[in-house]
């Protein structure tokens, strides 16, 4: 007993096992591009939520906008010019971003919560229940997503809350399938079996073993879900099925901007396009970096 204590005391800090999460954080922090992506996403998110309040520009009053010169190139008064309705483009990027990001993050969050629950339950229960639940997912997945979104919008209308709900409650099918694969794998591993053999019930095994051990995949999948939600929302905005004027989101802005591009009004398209594409690229890249950080095989021992 004493010798073990002495051995432990003799260990320096370097010999102590580094907690898993810290190793992962180190890998993630080592990825400079991922850090840059995080900084960018946080910066844009803060800007979208703060700028419209700190430096308000008229974005909703069409009467005032109508009396402003329309489609003006960038100037001192309007740093990125005005759009075809007379709204200030720079202010509108942040104003529209508030909608795009809120919808994207909320819808992404819903998809990951529902997908995780469904996948865990399906993978863990197994047998007939699993087969039935997965056939249902097969059915969902075989309806092309954009067509499904359009059908749902035709039927339910398109208020902001509905848009979040529709994307959130339909985007989780792929996630559920990934999480279910994880759950299926983990519940057959030794530690899960040991827990069951010691009398743990299914709920305990899910909560204490399956969920914590698939958290890495859940986080990664969640990141991609947010990016996809933002992209699908923009597609709906483009098709004219998104947020209604004078409110706007990036997709709707891109749509009205691209109508002007042939007149050479580049400021109505490219600034918002760059901000938008970089947000999606950054979120996807963060997802990739997280996946690398969580990949156990890559962790040096």
């Amino acid at each position: 007993m004493t010798s073990t204590t002495a051995e432990v005391a003799a260990l320096s800090d370097d010999d102590l096992p580094v907690p898993m999460w810290r190793q992962r954080l180190k890998i993630f922090m080592g990825n400079k591009l991922a850090i840059a992506s995080c900084v960018y996403v946080i910066f844009i998110t803060l800007a979208c939520f703060l700028v419209p309040h700190l430096h308000p520009t008229n974005q909703t009053n069409q009467a005032i906008a109508f009396s402003t010169p329309q489609s003006q190139p960038p100037s001192g008064a309007h740093w990125l010019g005005t759009d075809s309705s007379g709204f200030d483009v720079l202010g509108r990027i942040f104003f529209g971003g508030e909608y795009s990001l809120t919808l994207g993050f909320l819808a992404g969050f819903i998809t990951i919560v529902v997908g995780t629950l469904y996948g865990m339950i399906s993978g863990f229960l197994g047998g007939v229940v699993d087969t039935a639940m997965m056939r249902l997912i097969d059915a969902f997945l075989s309806i092309p997503y954009l067509f499904l979104l359009i059908s749902l919008i035709t039927v339910f209308g398109r208020s902001t809350v509905f848009l979040i709900g529709i994307i959130g409650l339909t985007g989780w099918w792929g996630n559920a399938r990934i999480i279910r694969g994880d759950a299926l794998l983990i519940r057959n591993l030794d530690y899960a079996n040991a827990s069951t053999s010691m009398g743990a019930n299914k709920w305990h095994v899910i909560r204490r073993h399956v969920f914590p051990n698939s958290i890495s995949n859940i986080v990664t999948v969640a990141t991609f879900s947010v990016a996809d939600a933002i992209l699908f929302l923009s597609a709906l905005g483009f098709l004219g099925l998104g947020i209604q004027s004078p409110e706007t989101d990036w997709g709707t802005m891109l749509q009205s901007g691209t109508e002007q591009i042939q007149n050479g009004f580049w400021w109505e398209v490219f600034p918002v396009a760059v901000v938008f594409i970089l947000v999606v690229v950054a979120i996807n890249y963060i997802g990739d970096a997280l996946r690398d950080a969580f990949e156990v095989r890559l962790i040096e021992r």
Binding site: R135, L136, D138, A139, F140, L141, S142, I143, P144, Y145, L146, F147, L148, I150, S151, L152, I153, T154, V155, F156, G157, A227, L231, S234, A235, F238, L239, G240, L241, G251, L254, Q255, T258, I261, Q262, V269, A273, F276, I277, V280, V281, N284, Y285
Partner: protein, 322 residues
């Protein structure tokens, strides 16, 4: 092999039934009930009497189960998807009119995608972490993040106006073969759709080949003296083929989604444009009918991918038969 195919066929049929029941039931969840489209369709003429007449005409007064039975029966035996609320046509004839155009668009870009993405992915994997690989990965990332419509719009702007090389709108005759009168007009729509799918597929192909390259049998092949070209094509490529075929099958819904956007931008009269118009005018049977149809295409695509997978990989064929 036969029992494997049969089993997949039965599975697909079950999935198809679920899809049909789901799409059929959707209008019942409308906030204003199943008669909601009546007000949009009849407009100012929507008196209670007119709404009732309209409902009787479209068989909406029958009970849910009677309608469901009739819908499935008509769909499966006669491919009859009901009548459009807005156009004086059956949904089947609308589909028959526009489906060849969409198939042509989707199929040709699928073929180009396979021709470009698979060699590109292998090439990237064999030159991993070189400038070429980084450039291709970066481009794919950017294309993946770019909304489809933006890419199309930029292509129109660049090749239609600033550097006018290609016609930007395909011929819009009603006859199915009218679209072939101006083949050059296809370059932009097909090109955009291809680029969009290449972005995802080449990235996947690169990852799969990289994963295969670290397997033991590749090392063995190297150890016994295989040239790197032979290792790449005979060992790595053949083993990466399975996941690729699966992902191609699974990518069909995205392909139709992309086709919808491309059709809308280029004003290419196909199923996608019909869907959007129907959605805007609350033409529920048309939207749902086209959705069921593209789902059937997806299921067929998945089925073909599974059969191809069985042909490629004997393990699946044997295990699937059990």
């Amino acid at each position: 092999m036969f029992s494997y195919i049969l089993r997949r066929l039965v599975q697909s049929f079950v999935v198809l039934l679920i899809v049909i029941v789901m799409t059929f039931s959707l209008p019942y969840f409308q906030p204003h009930g199943i008669l909601a489209p009546a007000f949009a369709v009849l407009g100012a003429r929507s008196t209670p009497l007119n709404v009732h007449v309209w409902a009787v005409q479209h068989g909406l007064t029958q009970s849910y189960f009677v309608r469901l039975y009739k819908y499935i029966d008509q769909l499966l035996l006669h491919f009859n998807l009901g009548h459009s609320y807005k156009q004086s046509l059956s949904v089947r004839s609308i589909i028959a009119l526009y489906v060849p155009r969409t198939i042509w668009l989707a199929l040709s870009s699928l073929i180009f995608t396979v021709i470009i993405a698979i060699p590109l992915g292998i090439f990237q994997a064999s030159r991993r972490n070189t400038v070429v690989d980084y450039a291709a990965t970066g481009t794919a990332f950017l294309l993946y993040a770019m909304p489809a419509f933006l890419l199309c719009m930029l292509a129109i702007d660049a090749f239609g106006f600033h550097w006018p090389r290609f016609p930007i709108s395909p011929p819009s005759g009603v006859a199915p073969w009218a679209i072939f009168t101006d083949p050059k007009a296809f370059i932009l729509p097909v090109g955009c759709l291809t680029l969009l799918s290449v972005a995802g597929l080449s990235r996947f192909m690169r990852g799969t080949v990289l994963e295969v390259m670290v397997q033991d049998y590749v090392r063995t092949a190297r150890a016994k003296g295989c040239g790197s070209r032979r290792v790449l094509w005979r060992h790595a490529f053949r083993n990466a083929l399975g996941p690729i075929v699966t992902i191609l099958g699974l990518s069909i819904p995205a392909l139709f989604g992309g086709a919808l956007i491309v059709e809308d931008v280029f004003n290419y009269a196909g199923l996608g444009v019909q869907t959007i118009n129907a959605a805007i005018t609350f033409d529920v049977p048309t939207v749902l009918g086209i959705t069921v149809l593209v789902s059937i295409f997806t299921l067929l695509g998945n089925l073909m991918a599974d059969v191809a997978l069985g042909l490629i990989d004997p393990r699946i064929r044997i295990e699937g038969a059990r």
